[in-house]
Symmetry: D2
Subunit: 343 residues, 4 copies
């Protein structure tokens, strides 16, 4: 099968590599010739590409299948341009991190032109080439069926995890790493919630490890001074541990309830940089975590954990400062309390 790919960054290029590996061919489009040349050199006859969108479309066989894999903010314009050049029966895939609302609107806008639209939430990050990509797909069933050979090449396959007890016979697509979740937007909806969960799980590890990092405060701080401004540590004898956090994340990887791929990565990051000296602690967020909370609020679903995880990211970037100053101002006002200087 042939796939057109717009955007040959890490994710796009690795999807191309996985399908070519399985005997499919690919055509790429990118503003920068560099990425195209690189992939041409690497993949030989199985790959062609052009920096010109019209030329790119011309290289594709009908029905054209074009996967758009670029930053969410630029996707809309790119699809609009692309749609101008496509024909009835062609298929556009948005594999980026668009908000699912846009999928609903785009698929409606494209329908009168006979252009099909799939939204595919794609998880796997920088490891996707090797591990395969987890695909969460929204759109019409017919197009999903048509593209199944590509999905099989891109997704990790059933061997990527032990089969769930009780599941027998032919593995379902989900067991092979891709799933048709529902109509337009369903793929990005599921991917959005996936990322919301990711934020929550990441925060769970980060908070827990932070406690481990503080396990020696009894030795470091003693029981504090006796002031009305600071709570002394009641039991300094309970916080005398110098814990080896890199080794702890390593031991949890084997046999424990919190073993996970995120933990694997955490152990890996801590092995490379045991004190996390290369990070400043300003944590970005990229849309899905926010939209997850929005969706929860719309549907009245309580998500205290997912929301707390998001808010901590905001705080890490200094966005709580005004509120914190306000608290200090109130304390000063009712109790005459002055702020303590940083330690």
């Amino acid at each position: 099968m042939q796939l057109g790919m717009i955007g040959l960054g890490r994710m796009g290029a690795n999807i191309v590599r996985r399908i070519v590996r399985d005997g499919h061919t690919a055509v790429g489009h990118e503003r920068h010739q560099g990425h195209i040349t690189e992939l041409t050199n690497e993949l030989g006859d199985s790959f062609r590409g052009s920096t010109d969108l019209r030329e790119f479309v011309g290289m594709l066989d009908a029905p054209r299948v074009v996967w758009v894999m670029i930053p969410a903010g630029a996707t809309g314009a790119a699809i609009d341009q692309l749609a101008e050049l496509l024909e009835p029966g062609d298929i556009i895939i948005d594999g980026g991190n668009s908000r699912y609302h846009e999928d609903i609107e785009r698929s409606k806008a494209l329908a009168p032109k006979g252009i099909h639209y799939l939204d595919i939430g794609t998880s796997g990050g920088v490891f996707g080439l090797e591990r395969g990509f987890c695909l969460m797909i929204g759109g019409e069933a017919e197009q999903v069926r048509y593209l199944e050979p590509l999905f099989e090449s891109i997704a990790p396959g059933v061997e990527a995890a032990p089969r769930t007890p009780g599941r027998t016979g032919e593995p379902t697509p989900a067991e092979r790493g891709w799933l048709h979740c529902g109509p337009a937007g369903a793929g990005h909806f599921v991917k959005m919630v996936h990322n919301g969960i990711e934020y929550g799980a990441m925060a769970a590890y980060a908070e827990g490890l932070n406690i481990l990092d503080h396990a020696n405060v009894g030795a470091v701080r003693g029981d504090g001074e006796h002031s009305a401004e600071e709570t002394p540590l009641e039991h300094p004898e309970y916080y005398q541990y110098d814990l080896d956090i890199p080794e702890i994340t390593e031991v949890w990887r084997r046999g424990s309830v919190v073993a996970s791929w995120l933990l694997d990565l955490t152990a890996s990051a801590l092995y490379a940089d045991p004190n996390l000296d290369s990070y400043s602690g300003r944590v970005s967020d990229s849309g899905e975590g926010r939209w997850t909370i929005d969706a929860a609020i719309d549907t009245a679903v309580p998500v205290p954990v997912l929301a707390a995880a998001l808010f901590q990211r905001f705080s890490s970037r200094g966005e709580a400062l005004y509120a914190d100053k306000m608290l200090s101002a109130m304390r000063k006002a009712f109790g005459g309390h002055n702020e303590l200087p940083p330690k």
Copy 2:
């Protein structure tokens, strides 16, 4: 009636002033002669004091009533020393912010000596002289009854707030501003929860005002760059307001549902320092907020709001840093994301 006061800081001195105003007399003890001299000059014959604890005790008439009003961390030792000098029938009051566990133990330890013990959670801060102090009292009913004349002078009195609809006849002690909450520790237990609520309510205002402070980000930031590292503002047109936060807190003081004494103080602080330039945003916490959460956990009470308020104070002091770095490290590991520099 005569009251002995150990600790002549702002709270202790103001309690003395309130009772003397009503015709009672007071004896004070402090390490520093300065505070004693000051009060003697101010209050004349109604006040005497000594820097020597034994001499202080000697100035008191039996049954002695000694109110200890010093930082929580120093209270235990002070009471131990004091108890050595007292006699059966005397009464010790801990008016500070001790953990109520200690009240339970202290009252048990003092009982065999015939010394009575009351724990009195005292709220009112720097405004107590003028507004009166709200007294939450734990201990034996007999001693509470005996000290009623003092409580009446220290507490704000029934006029301090409109009577609750339906309440008629002789106002209860609670309506006059003091309450016998229960046996030993009950006073500090109620005061502890009071402060836990205070933390939550303060955070509610601070978070809301922080949103008001961000109401212009659409004008300031525009819709951001299109990067995978930062979510663009979807609707910059919704965030174009330059709000006058000092005036907003002022208008809420009259007629709104969130009118409160904390809001009065907030409006006052913002009037004096409209941009909060005199604060750095490092918010202290002083025990009760923490113990409130501990008590909630012991008794399986969900307190997501009170806990979030406490944790934000920790974060304001930089205690989330290790966790934040960990999140950045994970993001780097799975997605190749680099931290954005501070704006």
Copy 3:
């Protein structure tokens, strides 16, 4: 001055009463004749009304001032109908709880017709007649100035609260209980955040009082059975208090840091129904609390307390059930744990 009021429910009728009290006149519109007749009987010549919208408009002198005070969901349609009947120079006020996004759009849509639009967040609830209403106003400065006489009658006035220390001279409008917050939408934006704060502050009280309600679990439950499914209470001796929560809320009203109008209402509710037997605990939410979190997320403001307060309302209505079942299913899966029956 003359005011037209659409919607004569409690809020609308009380605003009419307050302005008539000050010598203004009012014209009302309502689907039900009952409310109109009632007000006519009560207010005499100062009030007229009609169930017919066109007739209502005909009763108004140009430039017409029409305040719409109906549920948010119905406001849009009502304003559209009304605008058809108005003329250039007339003023529409949305005094309900519309989302401020709609104000921005509406004011734009009405501008070409020469109709002015103000959004007024109105706080005061059922007590507004007596206490006055706190008015947060968005729109053009000229119209706000024009309507000042009405705002002065509706708002509580400067006597409603002690003046903030340092404020002298002629009180600002905010000190009198009304504020021009900014252009279209600013009034409802500020009211939205006001309600978000309200949710947080309410939750702070509710959580704290719930701890007080559990203060006797050591007596009731003892130290529990020793099972792997339930944490025994480590120190039952610390939870032996039978606290009088109605009296505690009463005592906090005088002199304490948490004194507030919400606390006044809480004390009142508890005096009338000490065990809250008339409530089931299903807590509604009405939009502003949700929109506050949405706005915080848009602007990257951390609001852990306000969000936790909202989510607890969702939980109170059973919306966490699926998540809770999922947790039980996981515990069963990894630990063989069975759910304990309800106590």
Copy 4:
């Protein structure tokens, strides 16, 4: 090597099976003869046991190694009894879920008798026999070294997970699944935080899946009625998805960022019971989650996610009811709002 095991429940028996499999021998003690007989039949000469503690101790060779694997609430008494029968040089292991404070005290109390004490946090649940147990060990280095052969048999071994990139040469003990974390209590401290993280991660999945479960509310509820008591769904068209949650959890197991053992179990539970009909949603908690928050509060570590996860468990058991009623009472008081009936 020989191991004595007190408590032959699932965890204890499986530890015995794993060491016997590797050529070690075991001696068991249990109140019920049944478990002993069963293991004797299964393991032949490698296992003996007694319901009598003294007889059990007599079957052990000096220096005796006794692993206590019983519910946390009963561990203290069991160790006291056991210590009476042991001799200098013997080793007691607490493999249960004791609070680490107790380890610090116990190890001190046993030291004068020459009895060594290790605390071993043991994770693995019902799958430990097959997957091995993750061991987090506190105590003296010499005893840890001595028992290494047993730990090697009980832990999963290096093959249980791919080696972390960069790690070469002889795998560390942590890579083999066991770790000497530090002095007395360090093992249970690390296990406690492990479980805290587990609570947070579980909640992240549960909340996210709950959103998926609500993805069809636009179809089910429409846009709601227009009442002041309930927020209508602004965009019902965005919530029309009927998602197959069991298949979604399955697809996430392969290639996605949230792949984890907890997710494997979740997929498994959902495959067996797609609608979770066998659960009521009353979620237990068993100590470590609570103690984790206590430790965070002691050391001023912000843990909003871990705490929210714990509090939701309390809520799931009805412990928020009083607070929820209070909120309804306040809403009634200021706004005249009545609670809506359950849907």
